[in-house]
């Protein structure tokens, strides 16, 4: 999968988790840009992404992920 496809899939997951079809996601999106993206939804999101891509994030990455772009980097690192 290339970055574009991953971003598309992440966007779908985020829309599903936040129950909002209008959310637009780019690589620069940070948690603060999305209404309701707090620590509890972050965990749900991490869990769903791990299941969908069949990967595991390190604790350091769960905590420090800066934006969606970084999330894509981490997914690519593990799926390659």
């Amino acid at each position: 999968m290339d970055r574009k496809e991953i971003l598309k899939k992440i966007t779908e997951i985020i829309r599903d988790v936040f129950d909002d079809d209008k959310i637009d996601i780019s690589e620069e999106t940070v948690a603060a840009d999305v209404e309701g993206w707090d620590s509890l939804t972050h965990i749900t999101l991490i869990g769903t992404i791990e299941d969908e891509f069949n990967i595991k994030f390190a604790m350091k990455d769960v905590v420090n992920m800066k934006n969606v772009g970084e999330m894509i980097d981490l997914i690519i690192k593990q799926t390659d």
Binding site: E35, L40, T48, A58, M59, K60
Partner: protein
């Protein structure tokens, strides 16, 4: 030593600044800051210095072991437990002993004096060990640098709890600029004024009312006491944080913010993103995430997800994780049932907001006002629990606020507590809870800035005057 003491203001601080800036080499500056910090800590009570040193030493050795170990997590666990065991012994052993004794109808007790700042510096040390274990940062091989991270006097005894990964780079590489110095100087004075002029005055009223027997005051006075304490705790602790951040800036450090106008919140979740931010994020990064991730990998979670769906599993995870995190947050504040109840009370409202979607941005002004009133109501009550001597006292106090205690002999009526000076202080306390003053302070206009600085100097003079005239000067967060 208190920041708001004449000794600190006119001896310790100026001397530390002068000597610090006579030197230019980073390594010598850092060693001198460490020396000053140890002196600052020992000033109050030299007996607790060995405990602070042990924490530093365990963390220093621990991180190096973790870095070299093939079993990083188990090695980290050993040193984390060592650090925690000191905190546990001094802060919680008495409480647990007493309560276990109660189960067997025995009166067991262990009275220890709490070493100053132990909850704060232990959490900083843990942050360091966990960061090294997770691999985000390297172990600090320079013992003096690590000691400075844990012992740096601005944040040593009452925070902000600085996470190691937030400040690691600044220890060796930071810039002391005139702009930062000017900023730090102003920030310190603002913090001092918040503490001495507003928190102390509100605290005197709160102390009087909370010390009254329940039957000797009625609902209006009960509300006044609760409001006074709500103002005291905010101006006391955010004032302290302002002073700490300001002091850090004087020496070129950027200490993370600890408060962001919590009283304008529309929900308790938002409140906790604005109140004692360094503690909230500490618990988020080092307790909430690990607990949630291991819950997600647990059999119970997978079973619930399989049989009842993702939503229910999410609710299960939230309930368990929030109970653990908020129980721990309560307990961090003190070894007493009131703090545990207070923590769980906060967790309860956060869960309620999560399940109902409360507090999300709504366009309607009315709804937003209702949300705000709800939040104020919930946190004012929470501070009554926090302030009370016992759960029983808290319960009666809250009943009293709602007129549920009928038998009263009120000797001192409301006007006794509300003289002109107190009304002025409450008005200021209310106004300064809003972020508008931050914008006023930062307005880019030399003429206005001069006027603002005159006001800041007046606030400083009044604070010093108040400190010489009045002996009432407690710091709430020194107890933790």
């Amino acid at each position: 030593m208190l920041f708001s003491s004449l000794t600190f203001l006119f001896f310790f601080l100026p001397m530390t600044i002068i000597v610090y800036y006579t030197e230019t080499r980073r390594i010598i500056r850092n060693m001198f800051l460490l020396f000053a910090s140890v002196l600052f800590y020992a000033w109050g009570d030299i007996r607790y210095l060995p405990i602070l040193f042990s924490t530093v030493f365990i963390s220093y050795i621990g991180a190096i072991f973790i870095e070299r170990s093939n079993h990083k997590q188990s090695t980290a666990a050993v040193f984390i437990l060592l650090d925690l065991s000191m905190l546990f012994y001094f802060k919680y052993a008495g409480f647990f002993l007493e309560n276990i004794g109660l189960l067997f109808h025995r009166e067991w007790s262990l009275k220890l004096v709490l070493p100053l700042g132990i909850s704060f510096y232990t959490f900083q040390a843990l942050s360091y060990l966990i960061d090294v274990c997770r691999g985000g940062v390297k172990a600090q091989h320079n013992f003096f640098n690590l000691s400075l991270y844990i012992c740096f006097f601005p944040q040593l005894i009452a925070g902000p709890i600085v996470k190691y990964h937030d400040i690691a780079d600044q220890i060796d590489d930071r810039k002391e600029t005139t702009d930062a110095f000017y900023y730090g100087f102003r920030r310190f004075i603002i913090g001092l004024a918040k503490k001495v002029l507003i928190a102390n005055a509100s605290g005197e009223i709160a102390d009087k009312i909370f010390a009254l027997p329940i039957a000797e005051f009625d609902a209006p006075i009960a509300w006044l006491g609760a409001m006074a304490y709500t103002f005291q705790i905010y101006y006391d602790f955010s004032g302290y944080s302002d002073m700490a951040i300001g002091l850090g800036a004087l020496f070129g450090f950027r200490i993370p913010e600890n408060f962001n106008y919590p009283y304008i919140s529309k929900s308790i979740s938002e409140f906790w993103r604005r109140w004692h931010i360094s503690l909230g994020t500490w618990f988020k990064e080092y307790l909430f995430y690990p607990v949630s991730v291991s819950l997600m990998n647990s059999r119970a979670y997978r079973l619930i997800k399989k049989h009842f769906g993702k939503k229910t599993a999410g609710v299960f995870l939230s309930i368990v994780a929030l109970t653990i995190v908020w129980g721990a947050t309560g307990l961090w504040h003190g070894a007493a049932w009131t703090f545990i109840v207070w923590g769980l009370y906060n967790g309860f409202f956060i869960l309620f907001e999560l399940l109902t979607g409360w507090g999300k941005t709504k366009k309607s002004k009315l709804l937003s006002a209702i949300q705000h009133l709800y939040a104020v109501f919930v946190f004012v009550i929470s501070f009554v629990i926090f302030r009370s001597e016992s759960c029983n006292h808290a319960l009666h106090y809250i009943q009293n606020m709602f007129g549920l205690i009928k038998e009263h002999t009120v000797y001192l009526k409301l006007p006794y507590y509300l003289n002109h000076y107190n009304i002025l202080i409450f008005t200021l306390a209310f106004l300064f809870s809003f972020p508008i003053f931050k914008d006023i302070l930062n307005v880019k206009n030399k003429y206005y800035q001069t006027i603002i600085n005159i006001f800041i100097m007046i606030a400083f003079s009044l604070s010093v005057f108040e400190l010489t005239a009045n002996t009432f000067n407690p710091f709430i967060y020194f107890r933790f």
